[in-house]
């Protein structure tokens, strides 16, 4: 057997021995749990580029949320957004119209992959985490220039849920999300320089 293999085996053996020695029912690790939820809510985003200055949008959103792990959890916050209001008023132009009548289709997708920590208080669970955020948006129109962007940056998630009933199976919750993107993933002449987005979703889900 090669020396590297021997060293690895020794390390594994030592670690399991230590784990066995420290085994204590009170300190036993909780099982891995998974929580799936869907939700509806409202979102906003603000972006700026050299060609447009600041433009802000907001509207309803529909999301799918997931987290998995023990105390340290992997989190996914994903949603489809439907901007219904868009505004800008700067040296590049002024717009205060109704997006739903001027642009169709008008939608976006938004996802944050994060790592966070869970705290439990009686019937309530709080998970807070941070990670990578991506957002894509497409507003199209027959008369107006399409607005298309795909951006990437960092995002944070705060997830609060209350269990329904005695079994910790179903839950309702609130999901808050904020992100800042500084990278435009499209090879465009006038790129998005900065995008800020936030949302709140009311959720219902299942944990097992």
């Amino acid at each position: 057997m090669r020396p590297l293999h021997l060293i690895l085996m020794a390390l594994i053996l030592a670690s399991t021995t230590v784990a066995e020695a420290k085994k204590d029912p009170e300190r036993e690790r909780e099982p891995i749990t998974r929580a799936h939820a869907v939700g509806v809510g409202y979102y906003f985003h603000w972006l700026t580029s050299d060609n447009t200055g600041g433009m802000r949008f907001h509207g309803p959103s529909v999301g799918y949320l997931y987290d998995r792990g023990r105390k340290i959890r992997f989190l996914l916050h994903s949603k489809v957004v439907f901007p219904v209001v868009g505004r800008m008023d700067n040296e590049h132009g002024k717009y205060d119209g109704k997006l739903r009548s001027d642009y169709s289709p008008a939608w976006g997708v938004d996802a944050t992959f994060a790592v966070g920590r869970k705290w439990e208080f009686d019937d309530m669970t709080l998970v807070v985490g941070g990670g990578v955020h991506m957002m894509g948006m497409r507003l199209n129109s027959s008369e107006l220039y399409a607005i298309e962007s795909v951006t990437m940056g960092a995002g944070g998630i705060a997830r609060l849920r209350w269990k329904l009933g005695q079994k910790d199976l179903f839950h309702v919750g609130v999901d808050g999300h904020f992100a800042a993107d500084v990278f435009s993933l499209l090879r465009q002449q006038n790129k998005v320089n900065l995008l800020l987005t936030g949302s709140v979703l009311g959720t219902i889900g299942i944990k097992f």
Partner: protein, 363 residues
């Protein structure tokens, strides 16, 4: 494992959707796709020119096109007075350079009198199109419109020298020929493809009009054409307009419908041009365009001749003509006519030096 193909499909669809975007980038909310202001009165002037730079050791041939908002340069002052009375700012001004390979730039603005009561061109919009066959369809820039934050002011001067216009733009003089006079140099009865004024020159003259329109279509020739999943209408510089319609994101057949479209004096295009290409830019073309050529005002004269361009035999590779032929029929297809078969590369051979030598355009 069963989820993986679905996930890959979703990721591929998302990637396709977002790579097929307008490479021009983000535009202000409410910006119109079409900002052309058609000319009320108009005249069109052209010349062949050589770019000072070389391509493959040879000078780059280009065609300069000037459309001004007066039926004759001598009437510019009168048209400006009329515009003032109507409380309009100046008269229309379009100045374009179309390279032999179809790369193009169009300056759009207005002719005005400045504070010193001298003529000046105020350029507010610049359109650009780069012929990029070496790039994949989705990474190609396509036509781009730049709206200048501050108008670019350029001194201009117009002086007639016989039938030619001595036009000075920003200090650079050139001699332009009225387009109707160049159209009169076309010979509808010529059968030799390469002959001066022959079938190839007829096609080039027709194509000059198309280039003037296509360069103004944001994302034209690039992946961003998918934005025309919502059909868009464009106004022509002189009269009427055209419509761009893409059938769907996954099968992006492009229908461009011309309705007696007049981008330049003396040329009217009508019909539908269809490009059946997939997202890799491979496919075929279809449709027939009818083009009427005039040697005088279109509303006063009968056409000099009519031609038809049939696209049915054109093969599309990487989003541009990559094989096959155009069929150019000159005359009445039901009666006396001549049919010519032109190789696909005529579309990127926009060179009028056969009938409009470079020397004719020198000051």
């Amino acid at each position: 494992m069963a989820r993986r193909p679905l996930l890959l499909c979703v990721l591929a669809a998302a990637g396709l959707l977002f790579s097929a975007c307008d490479k021009g980038g983000i535009h202000p909310l409410g910006s119109s796709k079409d900002v052309v202001v058609p000319c009320v009165a108009h005249s069109t002037w052209i010349r062949s020119k050589e770019h000072p730079s070389l391509k493959n050791g040879e000078p780059i041939i280009a065609t300069e096109v000037l459309v001004i908002g007066a039926s004759h340069p001598d009437e510019i002052e009168a048209e400006l007075d009329l515009a003032e009375l109507a409380e309009e700012e100046g008269i229309c001004f379009y100045f374009a350079t179309i390279d032999k390979d179809s790369s193009a730039e169009i300056l759009q603005g207005r002719l005005v009198r400045n504070a010193a009561n001298q003529l000046e061109a105020e350029i507010g919009v610049i359109y650009g199109f780069l012929y990029q066959p070496e790039k994949s369809l989705l990474s190609r820039t396509g036509a781009i419109r730049e709206e200048l934050r501050r108008v670019r002011e350029a001194s201009v001067d117009f002086a007639m020298d016989g039938d030619q216009l001595l036009f000075t733009y920003d200090g650079e003089a050139r001699r332009l020929t009225r387009i109707e006079e160049v159209i009169a140099r076309l010979d509808p009865e010529e059968t030799e493809l390469e002959a001066p004024g022959g079938p190839k020159d007829i096609y080039r003259m027709f194509n000059l009009s198309l280039f003037m329109g296509q360069t103004r279509v944001p994302a034209f020739g690039g992946g961003g054409m998918t934005t025309y999943e919502k059909a868009a209408e464009f106004t022509s510089i002189i009269a009427n307009g055209f419509k761009v319609d893409v059938t769907s994101l996954v099968q992006p057949d492009v229908y461009i419908t011309y309705e007696k479209t007049q981008e330049l004096d003396g040329i009217i295009v009508d019909g539908v041009q269809i490009t059946y290409a997939n997202m890799q830019g491979k496919g075929t073309m279809g449709g027939v365009l009818e083009v009427e050529f005039y040697t005088g005002p279109v509303d006063e004269e009968e056409p000099y001749f009519t031609a038809y361009v049939d696209y049915a035999d054109v093969i599309i590779e990487r989003g541009v003509g990559g094989g096959g032929t155009y069929t150019l029929t000159v005359g009445d297809p039901e009666g006396d006519h001549l049919a010519h078969v032109l190789d696909y590369d005529i579309a990127t051979d926009e060179d009028f030096t056969n009938i409009l030598p470079v020397e004719e355009g020198l000051p």
